[in-house]
């Protein structure tokens, strides 16, 4: 394993430079955090931090950071700090610095010289200088000096007030757009923080192979935590904005909920959440999205009924019966092609192929089949992987008992692959449950649907003497689903106020319910995978 070689860096007598480097890294991380916060408007840039205007404070910190980084590099070059620098900073760093300085030089020139193509030679000069600087010098100078200089230059413009909180740069486009300080200052701060932080981390590791490892790891860890941060932020934000709408008029207590009858036994629920238990009608105290939830459930059921047998069957044939050759290759190419086909194209296909065949109207059935087609490649790919993962010993052992091939498949191979198939299906369902584009063209209903019009598929079946002999008006009617409902709420815009008392709350609550439904599929899928994996390890 690659991580097994990780050793603590033990070097004697290196405490002070390391302290400087870690301080620089701390400043850089702090600057990035402040930059992000001010992008979100949490730290307004025209305000002050501790009596100093924010822009000036950021500029000062950037200059200090740049000076510290350059100091580390120069100290190492003069031999005050014990390091192991490589002969140069490496190709990636060289190209990166050249690019950053090209942009910086070009931007400055086009700001100062006002138009023309003067930015091109100016950028080329600064970029070329940075390139030569990085490429020609030893690593300790080459990877710190350009980075530190960027921080000092940018910090200097903030510090001297060249770019103040009210600075605006009209880009002069035909469609008008301007660069404002409220965006540029935080963005430049984050970029400088990343650059100088990387240089400081390299210095902390003592340059050379170890230093580069430190620098790269810093960036990669920042990246990974940013991704998780974004995810957490998205979910938390939707939850915070959505929960008030979801809980409007919700009550808990015995006998307050609607009565549900299961197998003839009526139970009165002890909770009432009108948002998910009501439709929209004039008489309701609180409006809700019940028809959309029911619609989504039926869509998913229909898609699973269509896609899972098809997908699993095809996977069985491909892994167990077919010889590797033209056919399997064609099927693989087709499956992957289907997997990457844009969802709106499935919608178009459903619109031209399925809708005319199911009565000419947009209908629940058409939506089901379209989503089933989308689910099919996901099921096929994951089932195929699960079947391939079943060890050949199982098949041999079963065949040695003298049973037929099909019996082996039925009672040995498929049960062994079942966990993988189930997990893959659940994750695939989570994906299609949130799809809007295909159902937009195949089964759209109204924006606000009253509760009694929630689709009742089971009760809708009827037999007729006309071909095709089985009819189900419920299946052939347009209904609504959560993702479409959200889309309709967005596009409806102002007109919402007539139907719902608090449209914004209603929108966020719908988004939150949709997110809950989809993420619960994912939670079940990921949970199932852990469960099966742990059980496998025990055996």
């Amino acid at each position: 394993m690659a991580g097994a070689t990780r050793t603590p860096l033990v070097r004697a007598d290196a405490s002070r430079p390391e302290a400087v480097a870690s301080l620089a890294m701390a400043i850089a991380v702090g600057l990035i955090a402040v930059g992000i916060a001010s992008l979100f408007g949490l730290v307004p840039i025209d305000a002050a931090i501790g009596g100093v205007p924010t822009v000036t404070a950021l500029g000062g910190l950037l200059v200090v950071l740049g000076a510290a980084v350059i100091g580390l590099g120069v100290g190492s070059a003069l031999g005050y700090i014990e390091t192991e620098p490589s002969p140069n900073a490496g190709l990636v760093a060289t190209v990166g610095f050249a690019f950053v300085w090209f942009v910086l030089g070009g931007l400055t020139a086009s700001l100062v010289l006002e138009g023309g193509l003067a930015w091109l030679p100016a950028g080329a000069v600064t970029g070329g200088a940075a390139f030569a600087m990085t490429a020609a010098t030893r690593e300790d100078i080459g990877s710190t000096l350009p980075a530190g200089a960027v921080a000092i230059v940018v910090g200097g413009t903030f510090l001297t007030g060249t770019i103040g909180p009210v600075w605006v740069w009209d880009l002069g486009f035909e469609q008008q757009a301007s660069m404002t300080a409220t965006f540029l200052v935080p963005a430049a701060t984050i970029a400088c923080g990343l650059l100088a932080g990387w240089a400081a981390a390299t210095a902390y590791g003592g340059f050379g192979a170890r230093g580069r490892r430190m620098g790269a790891y810093l960036l990669i860890y920042v990246n990974a935590s940013a991704i998780i941060g974004v995810l957490f932020l998205l979910i938390a934000f939707t939850a915070v904005r959505g929960i008030p709408g979801l809980l409007t008029g919700a009550t808990v207590g015995s006998g307050v909920g609607p009565t549900v009858s299961v197998l003839g036994v009526s139970v009165t629920l002890p909770v009432a959440v009108p948002f998910v238990m009501n439709g929209v009608s004039l008489l309701n105290d609180f409006q809700g999205v019940l028809p959309a939830i029911v619609g989504t459930v039926w869509l998913v059921v229909g898609a699973v009924v269509l896609a899972v047998p098809l997908g699993v069957g095809a996977a069985v044939f491909l892994t167990e019966y077919a010889e590797r050759g033209r056919l399997t290759q064609a099927v693989e190419v087709a499956t992957n092609g289907l997997w990457s086909t844009p969802s709106i194209v499935f919608g178009l296909f459903g619109f031209t192929f399925l809708v005319p065949r199911f009565g000419g109207n947009k209908s629940l059935l058409a939506g089901m089949v379209t989503l089933g087609f989308m689910l099919l490649p996901l099921v096929l790919i994951t089932s195929r992987e699960a079947l391939l993962a079943v060890p050949d010993e199982y098949r041999d052992a079963s065949a040695a008992l003298g049973v037929s091939k099909w019996q082996t498949i039925r009672s040995v191979v498929v049960p062994a692959a079942l966990p993988g198939v189930v997990t893959g299906t659940i994750l695939g369902v989570g994906r299609i449950a949130g799809e809007t584009a295909p159902i937009l063209l195949t089964m759209t209903g109204g924006t606000f649907v009253s509760g009694d019009r929630a689709a009742d598929v089971i009760g809708g079946f009827a037999f007729t003497s006309q071909p095709p002999f089985v009819t189900n008006p419920e299946l052939l009617q347009a209904t609504t689903a959560l993702p479409f409902q959200l889309y309709a709420l967005i596009t409806a815009g102002v007109g919402l106020g007539d139907n719902v008392s608090n449209p914004v709350e209603f929108q966020w609550a719908t988004a939150f319910v949709l997110l809950l439904v989809v993420l619960s599929f994912y939670a079940v899928g990921i949970g199932a995978r852990y469960y099966f994996r742990r059980r496998l390890r025990h055996e």
């Binding site: 690659a2 991580g3 070689t5 486009f173 035909e174 469609q175 008008q176 757009a177 404002t180 170890r210 580069r212 490892r213 960036l219 990669i220 860890y221 990246n223 990974a224 991704i227 995810l231 979910i235 069957g313 095809a314 069985v316 044939f317 019966y321 077919a322 099927v331 087709a334 992957n336 092609g337 289907l338 997997w339 990457s340 086909t341 844009p342 709106i344 194209v345 919608g347 178009l348 296909f349 192929f353 096929l380 091939k405 099909w406 039925r410 994906r431 949130g434 809007t436 584009a437 937009l440 071909p467 095709p468 089985v470 959200l486 596009t491 988004a511 949709l514 989809v518 994912y522 990921i526």
Partner: protein, 337 residues
């Protein structure tokens, strides 16, 4: 049984109400076969299911292409006296379905799709590859167990929810920041779409990186390199084609992304002025379809199908290309394909 199945398929294609008869016959035949010759029936059934997969792709290709032919005919231009069908779609930039002259140029939408995809790739490719490297090589076990499902969940957040957050939060903010008239910019649609393409890049690139044989990495580490050196000089070069296939698939996702683009863009099919003005967002191929399907008739509807055909062919080519790259990589690493 096979005859009945084929008959029901034909019936379905012809939209005949008598389709139910062969379907019933097929079910009957399958039922009888299941009881008497279970093995053979299972084999035939699974074979039919396999064929169905290929058939669906073929049906999609045929049906959306056929629908788009009238508009290709309508937009015929003569070049040196030779009429070339469909050429005017790409030489003019006017899309107007109402006022004369009625034109269905695809250029503004292709421009929009290219802008969004470029920005999205600039976001998703470096971040995705770095995250894949983190997951497959660097992260300690416990961190990995948290980050990996996190990336999967990121893929699971419905695109309309991204679009909703972008529409209500990001677009007004961007409009205020950059002092644009009205809301909707390719820049932020690109960033959001890049975030949505990220999980695809991460998972495929991670597969590629972890398929590099352990012996190659150990050999490098035994020479006394740091693990970062091993990654840059052994793992990434060995998995390079797989990683580029991952980026390609991410590009494919970004091209096909619909809902976020639809709700965040302006929905006016025209070019931005100047062409590289990313602070304005007009229309992409996908959002064109989603915005106009409701009130489109005749030629305009066919033009929407043409947009679908362009999308479909581009993405299919990308998919096949990335599969070819992956196949070559597996062969190079000496594993079984």
């Amino acid at each position: 049984m096979t005859v009945a199945l084929v008959a029901s398929l034909v019936g379905f294609l012809l939209a005949s109400p008598f389709t139910a008869l062969p379907v019933a016959l097929f079910l009957l035949a399958a039922g009888v076969g299941w009881v008497r010759y279970q093995g053979l029936t299972a084999r035939v059934l699974t074979f039919a299911m396999t064929i169905a997969t290929v058939l669906i792709l073929l049906l999609i290709t045929v049906y959306i292409t056929v629908e788009s032919i009238p508009v290709i005919r309508y937009e015929t231009t003569t070049v040196f006296g030779v009429p070339v069908p469909g050429l005017r779609l790409f030489t003019e930039t006017r899309w107007d379905a109402v006022a004369e002259p009625i034109r269905y140029s695809m250029v503004p939408m292709i421009h929009g799709t290219v802008m969004v995809t470029t920005i999205a790739t600039a976001v998703a490719a470096p971040l995705g590859v770095a995250a894949a490297l983190f997951l497959s090589e660097i992260a300690p076990g416990a961190v990995r167990e948290v980050v990996k499902p996190g990336v999967e969940i990121l893929a699971g957040i419905p695109s309309i929810v991204y679009g909703f957050i972008g529409f209500t939060i990001l677009s007004p903010w961007a409009s205020e920041q950059f002092r644009t008239t009205g809301q909707g910019s390719y820049l932020f649609v690109g960033i959001v779409v890049g975030l949505m393409a990220l999980p695809t890049v991460v998972s495929v690139a991670e597969d590629a990186l972890s398929s590099v044989p352990e012996s190659m990495k150990s050999g490098s580490l035994a020479m006394g390199t740091t693990d970062w050196q091993t990654m840059t000089s052994i793992t990434i070069p060995a998995a390079f084609s797989g990683v580029s296939a991952a980026v390609l698939l991410g590009v494919g996702r970004a091209i096909g992304e619909t809902m976020a683009a639809t709700v965040m863009l302006r929905g006016v099919p025209q070019l931005t002025e100047p062409l590289y003005n990313v602070f304005y967002g007009q229309e992409t191929l996908t959002s064109l379809i989603a915005n106009n399907y409701g009130n489109a008739h005749g030629l305009q509807m066919d033009a929407l199908f043409l947009a679908g055909v362009i999308l479909f062919i581009t993405v299919l080519a990308i998919s096949i290309g990335s599969q070819y790259i992956e196949w070559r990589m597996h062969r190079k690493l000496g594993g079984e394909v």
